[in-house]
Amino acid sequence: MVDSGGISTAQAQQLSVLWTKAQPIVSAYFRACLWDFHQAEDLLQETAAAAAGKFTTYDPSRSFTSWVLGIARNKLLHHQRTHANDRHLFDDTAIRELADMYGDMEPEISAMHQALENCIERLEGRPRKLLELRYVRDLTPAKIADATGMNANAVSVMLHRVRQSLRECIERQLSRRHDLKPLAGGF
């Protein structure tokens, strides 16, 4: 069944599966270029919508992630032009370059994402709560400092340390995977 101006159910399912793999990469791209989660989320939604709308033009022989990153890149370029901000870290050239790089680094980034899930699981107590305040409740370090009576600088330092140790855990996991010998006969 095909709706006029829309896509078929079969195509929707295919898009859904492809989008599953691409979404974390595109999300990472936006969140790196726009440190504000809300702006990044908005652009992600717009990109998803645009991808759905243009899906009939997608060439299956190409990488889907790269294709979507192209759409994402244009959304970001447009966003930067309409939100003049002296905190923009990336000019147009850099935004284009990054879109290409995220596409190239997709396997590496996916591996890091998986490792992060394992590493986060072992995190408990105060450091985990701090991350939840920052990333789930979206409190800035200044607001966390306000709420706890801690020094804002201390909060930033703690966040940096916790992220650092997660990063080190990821590196350890990834280097271990390269050392894994192939299991004889699978398992």
Binding site: D42, L116, Y135, A154
Partner: protein, 600 residues
């Protein structure tokens, strides 16, 4: 410029100044390699939100996280503001749909966890969640395209934690003690005792308390504390050192006027009897948050800094004093007694082996190394009678003693105390130095033993011997036995007056003074001779023999036998203190012999 990784981290927390934004931008533009590094550095930050939302929906604010510094109602209103500010209805609707799908998947996840030990990357599960999450968003989007409107589902209530009234939880345990008397909630408690929130009084001794969250504190009696939670405690009076490993980051010790939040790893805190709090950062970094918020900003202190906080909240920089705190529960009561007297330098000599350097304890951390001919002696193993240190350094033959890194503070020759445990063995007649600072002829001071025959006395036995090179010799009249452990000490007043102690008791002495002596004429010994101050040195020192000396003409005067627990103090210890040191070793023996008597 700051390390790029630090700038990137600050960028994600919105902490870059406009100038730093430019710095970072320029660094990124320098090379594609930098861009790739940026991408890697940003992975954790970009992905954390999704992973945390997936893994634990209940990880919201709980009161105990903030303890007693913040009004919980204030946090709630703060969060409400955030909710309202982030009023993106469409996005919230989509998130709810996502959560519902995830909630269903989590049941499967919990079952899976029981089946699979999670060492392998959970590829399939991760993909399932990601699929559902992404699919949820996509389906809503697609719904729009196919003309359907998403049904607003009833928002699932995020279950609030019900406060469960229960007995106060166990938050800490007593993991090490030495010669301690402890009261928890006014009841005596011993090694292994578990602690709940409440008062803790260490009347004497040294106690290590390990908190459930991972931090450890070493308390020097007498001290009073109030334990609050696995991550918080309050020091009311006395001295405490906190050791905080990475997983317990944020452990907070507070006094009445300020809180000290550990950012990793070790700091000493003292509240004296005037209510002044002092903090000395021994390692890592600490955030000091002053309670009286008049114009006194919070600050971060790094290793080597010390601050005092007055009762009115005024914060001042003070000199850092590393030796002020007892950082570990000592192995023996003697060691505790020595550390409490705050030695300038202290060498336990339990692990001396030629060639392997170690660091002295006390206020000066001096690199020390044993030379050839010096070895570690394990007296328990050899079955020797106790009543002495179980481990010591043994010096034989033409050894070269133990070298100490020179330090000007060791050059003192007055207002000082020298102390050691020694077990002399046979050796050539002459002075045998335990500790010496002779760095050139007629300078420095040395403590040791000497046989009477060296000075043509009829009695050849070993006696305590203190020499202020070129100024005077002092000898005790009491014999020091061979093959037995003896505690020796010597103090020198500000005017040069020496006092000798054997086994914690003052001993009579004779003096031979070179003041006003004619050259080449023998100098007589007498009960009282002038004992002016000797000559200070550059701070070269050795244990077990004289240092080599700048002109090479100083005779080694080697020690033969064992030496243990050498301590140097930059003040005169009282007779009472030295007696207490000596008695500290006897307490164990007294306890066991009393028990033996009772059972007879």
């Amino acid at each position: 410029m700051r390390d790029p990784s630090e700038l990137i981290a600050a960028y994600f927390d919105d902490g870059l100044t406009p100038a730093e934004v430019i710095e970072l931008r320029e660094w990124l533009e320098e090379s594609p390699h930098h861009l790739r590094q940026f991408i890697r550095d940003s992975v954790v930050h970009s992905r954390l939100r999704d992973v945390l939302i997936q893994q634990d929906m209940r990880g919201l604010v709980r009161d105990e996280f903030f303890g007693d510094t913040v009004d919980p109602r204030r946090i709630a209103s703060l969060l409400d503001e955030e909710e309202m500010a982030a009023a993106r209805r469409a996005r919230e609707q989509e998130e709810r749909a996502e959560r519902q799908a995830l909630a269903a998947a989590r049941l499967h996840e919990q079952l899976d966890r029981k089946l699979m030990r999670i060492e392998e990357p959970r590829t399939s599960n991760a993909l399932v969640y990601a699929t559902l999450a992404a699919a949820a968003i996509m389906l809503v989007m697609l719904g729009r395209f196919t003309g359907q409107r998403p049904e607003p589902k009833a928002a699932p209530q995020i279950a609030k934690e019900q406060p469960v009234p229960a007995a106060p939880p166990l938050i800490a345990e007593i993991t090490k003690i030495l010669d301690a008397k402890i009261l928890a909630e006014n009841r005596p408690i011993d090694l292994g005792g578990k602690l709940r929130p409440g008062p803790l009084f260490v009347e004497r001794g040294a106690v290590e308390v390990s908190f459930a969250a991972g931090a450890k504190i070493v308390i020097e009696g007498p001290a009073r504390l109030e334990l609050v939670s696995p991550e918080r405690a309050r020091l009311i009076s006395g001295r405490v050192v906190a050791h905080v490993p990475p997983q317990a980051l944020g452990f907070t010790l507070r006094s009445d006027t300020a809180s000290f939040v550990d950012l990793g790893t070790e700091f000493g805190l003292e509240v004296d009897n005037t209510g002044v709090t002092s903090i000395h950062v021994l390692d890592g970094e600490v955030a000091l948050v002053s309670d009286k918020k008049n114009d006194i900003p919070s600050r971060t202190l790094q290793r080597g800094r010390a601050n005092s906080v007055a009762a009115d909240g005024a914060v001042r920089d003070v000199p850092f004093d590393e030796g002020r705190f007892i950082r570990h529960v000592p192995e023996s009561a003697y060691e505790l007694a020595v550390l409490k007297s705050r030695p300038l330098a202290y060498w336990r000599l339990e692990q001396a082996s030629a060639g392997a350097p170690w660091t002295s304890e006390g206020r000066l951390a001096l690199s020390t190394v044993a030379n050839a001919g010096v070895a570690a002696a394990d007296n328990l193993e050899a079955g020797r009678t106790p009543a002495g240190p179980s481990r010591a350094a043994t010096f034989t033959g033409n050894h070269d003693g133990i070298d100490i890194t020179a330090n000007a503070a060791l050059g003192l020759v007055s207002k000082c105390t020298f102390e050691a445990w020694v077990l002399p063995t046979e050796g050539p007649t002459g002075p045998r130095r335990i500790y010496s600072t002779f760095d050139r002829p007629r300078s420095g001071i040395a403590i040791g033993l000497v046989n009477g025959a060296w000075y043509n006395f009829p009695n050849d036995d070993l006696k305590v011997h203190l020499t202020a090179y070129g100024v005077y010799d002092v000898m005790g009249t009491e014999t020091v036995a061979l093959h037995r452990w003896t505690h020796l000490a010597a103090t020198v007043e500000a005017d040069g007056q020496p006092t000798l102690y054997v086994n914690g008791a003052l001993t009579a002495r004779q003096v031979r003074s070179f003041v006003g002596a004619e050259p080449d004429k023998p100098v007589a010994w007498s009960a009282d001779g002038p004992t002016p101050v000797g000559r200070t040195t550059s701070g070269v020192a050795r244990i077990g023999r004289n240092p080599v000396g700048s002109d090479g003409h100083i005779s080694p005067e080697r020690w033969q036998g064992q030496i243990s627990h050498v301590a140097v103090y930059d003040r005169v210890l009282s007779a009472k203190e030295l007696r207490q040191h000596f008695e500290a070793t006897k307490s164990a023996e007294i306890a066991t012999s009393a028990a033996a008597q009772e059972s007879n």
